[in-house]
């Protein structure tokens, strides 16, 4: 799509676009050269794989009760031990990846998509801009987890409501970043050129502006994924997340806390899983940001 935009640009803009084209190719390469980003991506992909392949990987039924073997420490039969109902902690951690990764991915994608749309509209239409952005500012005045807890209280506990609540919480920031990028790109010569050929606002937005503001938003998607995984765990932990029967890392921690003195492993392993995934996503986000930021290149 960006090639089209460049082809449409007049002479005066060619140099700038050539640079942008070069840097566009460049950042993918810098991303691959950026070891931390690659490590981050690998960690996140491993967890996605675990989530998808959970039924194949889990040694036992994550819901299977075994009262005779409750609160057993890590052993060959149960590599990560069992919880107070005798359920296999390893299998539960593996199945827990499904919820965390699913919620993180959904919130990351939906809030970037919605934020992008709002940012485009705000950046293009001055009249909508002030109202929309003041509304986003007002939403951002509520501390994220507190707003999410209240939204869960109102919407009721379910997985889709967790996704909805966290999307409401994280979209405003993305809309703001998207709008700021739109305001810069909108003034570029190729947008003017496209406008002069009679392209409609929507065509300008989607074909010319959108491809050129995507990169900072991909970074945001990866940070938002990380935040959403943390937030989902926190909501489950305090008991306002999805139903406690679902094996999720937050739910496991909430139950593990009750027996933390006797059976610390129930608490330690799901927490480690969260830290690893979020760490991976943050590493990837940082690598992406560095690859995209020309000021940081060569550092």
């Amino acid at each position: 799509m960006s090639e089209k935009a460049i082809a449409a640009s007049p002479q005066s803009g060619v140099l700038g676009h050539a640079n942008r084209l070069r840097s566009r190719r460049h950042w993918i390469w810098t991303l691959f050269e950026n070891r931390t980003a690659v490590v981050g991506a690998i960690i996140v992909f491993v967890f996605f794989f675990v989530a998808l392949a959970a039924p194949l990987l889990a040694p036992r039924d994550p819901l299977g009760l075994d009262v005779l073997n409750k609160l057993r420490g890590p052993s060959t039969a149960h590599p990560l031990g069992t919880d107070q109902f005798g359920r296999d902690v390893l299998s539960r951690v593996i199945y827990g990846a499904r919820l965390s990764m699913g919620v993180g991915l959904s919130v990351g994608l939906v809030s970037v998509a919605v934020g992008l749309l709002l940012g485009l509209v705000a950046g293009f239409y001055n009249r909508v801009d002030s109202v929309l952005m003041r509304f986003m500012d007002a939403l951002m005045a509520f501390p994220s987890i507190i707003l999410a807890i209240v939204l869960m209280g109102i919407l009721g506990p379910s997985i889709s409501n967790v996704i909805l609540a966290l999307t409401i919480v994280y979209t405003p920031r993305i809309a703001r970043i998207a709008r700021a990028s739109v305001l810069v790109v909108r003034e570029d010569v190729y947008v003017e050129a496209a406008r002069s050929t009679g392209a409609s606002d929507w065509r300008l937005m989607l074909r010319h502006v959108l491809p050129n503001i995507l990169s900072p938003l991909i970074t945001q998607a990866s940070y938002t994924f990380a935040l959403a995984v943390l937030a989902e765990a926190a909501l489950s932990f305090v008991g306002v997340g999805p139903s406690p029967e679902i094996p999720s890392w937050g739910n496991m921690l909430s139950e593990g806390q009750l027996v933390v003195r006797q059976a610390a492993w129930i608490t330690i392993f799901p927490g480690l899983a969260i830290v690893l995934v979020v760490f991976g996503a943050n590493l990837f986000g940082d690598g992406l940001r560095d690859a995209l930021d020309p000021r940081l290149r060569g550092d």
């Binding site: 005045a141 509520f142 501390p143 507190i146 209280g153 990380a226 765990a233 806390q257 927490g271």
Partner: protein, 315 residues
């Protein structure tokens, strides 16, 4: 400055208005009839109708909104708790002390850990020290605060028995011992904010260290330490000021979760309980108060910014 201040205060009006709209609207998002929810499943239609009138739900939405906003903004009246039967404001204030103390402790650890880490990493830019500190900062951003809290309890309370694993003693009752109860939760609350601040301080410090006046200071023969602390640090601390509002929000969010881990009878616990009891006025009260604190913090930061940084000139 006076003109800037008045303009800055004017921007508060639409913001506060929209915050009120959201806080008011949230409760109206409840699926179904809020009065029926409040009345419970066994209520007769007459009871539901009575509650509807008591909550003002029988009037039109704009009338309800104007009435509600007037009470909140002009009288500080957040309504009555549906479960506790007391004014929401009173209920929240009763639980404010533990929450405030935890947040202050969290802020203390945020500064204590965040600022020196950032400075040290910047000074040793691209060395192994920098890499270790910054990896630590990313890990700090990746650890769920409640899990860190549990690990701290396992280490310092269960393994070493140095600090209490949970609970709270008010300042009036405990004096200095009450601080013992705040250390672990404060650390758990502050860790991620400290990591965030450290990254911010580091990049700001790096920006300043690259500037001409630093080279000049070095060229005129000042010792490295003097350049660092008298020239660089003063300027490097200005950009991190802008995120204080965000840090306040972080600390508030962290406090809510950590109160559950450490069994602290604060406003966060009240919020969680009111969610499970469907006590809408309390939920509404808690979010509107936290939003006000956030807005106030940002206002103070903006004013400070103008006072501290002479380059910021307001027209």
């Amino acid at each position: 400055m006076a003109r800037y201040l008045s303009r800055r205060l004017l921007t508060l009006i639409p913001l506060l208005f929209l915050v009120a709209v959201i806080a008011f609207g949230l409760v109206r998002m409840t699926p179904g009839d809020p009065a029926a929810v409040v009345a419970g499943p066994d209520a007769t239609p007459e009871q539901v109708a009575r509650i509807r009138t008591a909550m003002g739900l029988d009037r039109s939405l704009p009338v309800q909104f104007v009435d509600w906003t007037e009470r909140v903004f002009l009288h500080g009246d957040l309504g009555d708790s549906l479960v506790l039967g007391q004014p929401v404001m009173k209920v929240i204030l009763q639980r404010a002390q533990p929450t405030l103390l935890l947040a202050i402790m969290g802020a203390f650890f945020t500064m204590l850990l965040g600022v020196p880490t950032g400075i040290f990493a910047a000074v040793r830019h691209n060395s192994w020290v920098d890499r270790v500190l910054m990896s630590g900062a990313i890990i700090g951003l990746s650890i769920p605060n409640f899990w860190l809290g549990l690990l701290l309890v396992l280490t310092f309370s269960i393994h070493w028995s140095i600090l209490p694993p949970s609970g709270f003693v008010s300042l009036q009752d405990g004096g200095i011992t009450s601080i013992k109860y705040l250390v672990l939760p404060g650390l758990a609350i502050g860790a991620s904010s400290a990591a965030f601040l450290a990254r911010m301080v580091r990049s700001s410090m790096l920006d300043v260290l690259r500037q001409d006046f630093i080279r000049t200071a070095k060229a005129k023969g000042l010792r490295g330490r003097s350049v660092l602390y008298r020239h660089a640090l003063k300027n490097a601390m200005i950009p991190p000021l802008t995120v204080i509002g965000m840090l306040v929000a972080n600390l508030a969010s962290g406090t809510v979760i950590i109160e559950i881990v450490f069994n602290v009878p604060g406003a966060g616990r009240l919020l969680i309980n009111s969610v499970s009891r469907r006590d809408y006025p309390v939920m509404q009260g808690v979010i509107i108060i936290t939003a006000f604190i956030y807005i106030l913090a940002n206002l103070i930061v903006d004013i400070l910014y103008g006072l501290i940084d002479p380059r910021v000139r307001y027209e």
